[in-house]
């Protein structure tokens, strides 16, 4: 069987925008007629459930713990990468893409990894908008540190153990207007 990864053709930097443009849309009035099951409410599932519910879909979310806040994601302690180049140390979407492809020893898809680097920039804004207490420098700018496999500082983090937990909790606290989420 041949597997079709459906990677859009064209230059790397344009693949995702073009693809988004070509995707079909669901009429806003119809969204509530769709049930979407989300199994898992760690960061990935939590983010999906919240966004889809906000769009108007009827989301049914499941987890095996007694609360989404107990997902494994809460253990994360290092932080999140993003190609913001706040440190002015030469970071860029392309560099994050390149580091990730190389770090993965050239066994990941170019198209996917580029998209990841591209949207990484939005993630931090999204988190800040939701009140994630990222560490800041004295002047108030978000602080960064380095992680393995990279020569730039692009990791956003929260200070202190409690902060790390608060960070995840913030993200999982988002209560979309839809009531099915709370059922």
């Amino acid at each position: 069987m041949t597997l079709d990864a459906k990677i859009p053709a064209g230059p790397l930097a344009e693949k995702w925008s073009k693809h988004k443009f070509n995707l079909k849309l669901v009429n806003p009035a119809n969204k509530r007629k769709y049930d979407v099951i989300v199994v898992g409410t760690g960061l990935a599932g939590g983010a999906a459930a919240a966004s889809l519910a906000e769009l108007g879909y009827n989301v049914k979310a499941f987890c095996f713990q007694d609360s989404p806040r107990r997902a494994h994601s809460i253990a994360a302690q290092g932080g999140i990468n993003a190609a913001k180049n706040y440190q002015n140390d030469g970071d860029s979407v392309y560099r994050l893409f390149y580091d990730t492809i190389k770090g993965g020893d050239y066994r990941a898809r170019e198209g996917n990894v580029y998209r990841l680097a591209e949207v990484s920039v939005n993630i931090i804004d999204q988190c800040v908008a939701q009140g994630v207490p990222f560490a800041r420098e004295y002047g108030g700018l978000l602080d960064n540190r380095s992680f393995g496999g990279s020569q730039v500082s692009r990791t956003f983090y929260a200070r202190g153990t409690n902060r790390a937990a608060a960070f995840i909790r913030r993200l999982l606290r988002i209560k979309p207007p839809d009531t099915s989420w709370q059922s």
């Binding site: 999906a48 049914k60 499941f62 994360a76 990468n81 990730t100 990941a108 990841l116």
Partner: protein, 460 residues
Amino acid sequence: MYTRSEMLDVVTVDGHAKGIVTRNLITGEIDTHTGHAVLLATGGYGNVFYLSTNAIGSNVTAAWRAHKRGAFFANPCYTQIHPTCIPVTGDHQSKLTLMSESLRNDGRVWAPKTVEIAEQLRKGTIKADQVKEDDRDYFLERKYPSFGNLVPRDVASRNAKEMVDEGRGVGGSGFAVFLDFADAIHRLGKDAVAAKYGNLFDMYYQITDEDPYKQPMRIYPAVHYTMGGLWVDYNLSTNVPGLYALGECNFSDHGANRLGASALMQGLADGYFVIPYTLGDYLAQIGPKPVDGKHPAFEQTKQDVIARINKLLALKGTKTVNEYHRDLGHIMWEYCGMARTEEGLTKAKGLIQALRADFWKNALVVGENEEVNPALEKAGRVADFLELGELMVDDALMRKESCGGHFRLESQTPEGEALRDDEHFAFVAAWEYKGDNQPEVLNKEALDFEFVHLTQRSYK
């Protein structure tokens, strides 16, 4: 929001995912749920190794049941072994603790230069701070001058193992190297170091009863993350229409090794910025007609789940499920861990098959379905790990090259680095389930590199 609900199967109708079957972990009730699409964001499978940094409850069940319903499982052998964890202390342990990689910003990794000094350290006749500068080998800085202590995780882990294999490991067990902050404290002051890493130092102190401001930390690699997972296309769709996988549970973006702080990035990217677009495309095509929960596929899948639970509850042997899990973990760590060989993997395959057969004869699963029953929950998860473990070994056997976290001893550069074989292995391995105890079929998705030039990874 359905909490304390474990998904135990996916319902497919005419090849499309249309719902799930869950078990209520408090009452034991088995329910079916309908949906126009099913998204799995159920995390990674590192706990197949028994000891890992993952939460105790993390498991592969959701992804594995989806696999058995047709979803391909990609690159199962790609496992990340994190270099900076608190070393194992004994057999009683059920979990390992990660010391954040950010510590490698300021901590320096070293082992004693000679076996003799290592011996003294292991016996406790000398302490780390008594080892003279000249007798220390800052092996990452020595071997990788440009990245130094910040080489990727797989490289750092393998080098620590190498030290231990040479007899230069420290700590009571000899399975550890040092992560030393003396320089940073000297350079920046204790307060500055405490401001950056105080929480981690406190955690280390609480667990080991050693003060990392005074003595270097002891660290050793531990299983941390799994790059493999359900195969998905660019839209995060598995090959089963309507079934999507997000976060650590898919295989998508990290290749054979994930960089630090990229898991959250990927999980949030999938959830916030990708799926809201791509899911709409599918939903618009299938239309909003309600899903018929009365379709026989729902009842049939529910009966399959109940039959499996009954089969587990009928196991009244002598060995606890936890013991099977630990045995499996030993096999995986020994033969499918940081260094893999054809011979070891072949042996592991036999051992896992035997262990699995034994499980279905001699395991002990106490209690009933209609109650909170952790033994039953664990039995279902371990049964799945016993199948996944074999597939990981198959995948590792098939991939004769080394790449990232997958290190085949037969394939290394003269300097001992992972040696890829791009000509034969530049593909994603997507495995297709063919029935109980049947060999899985390998499907290959070729990886085309249009923009980056493939090179031997070097962090020197």
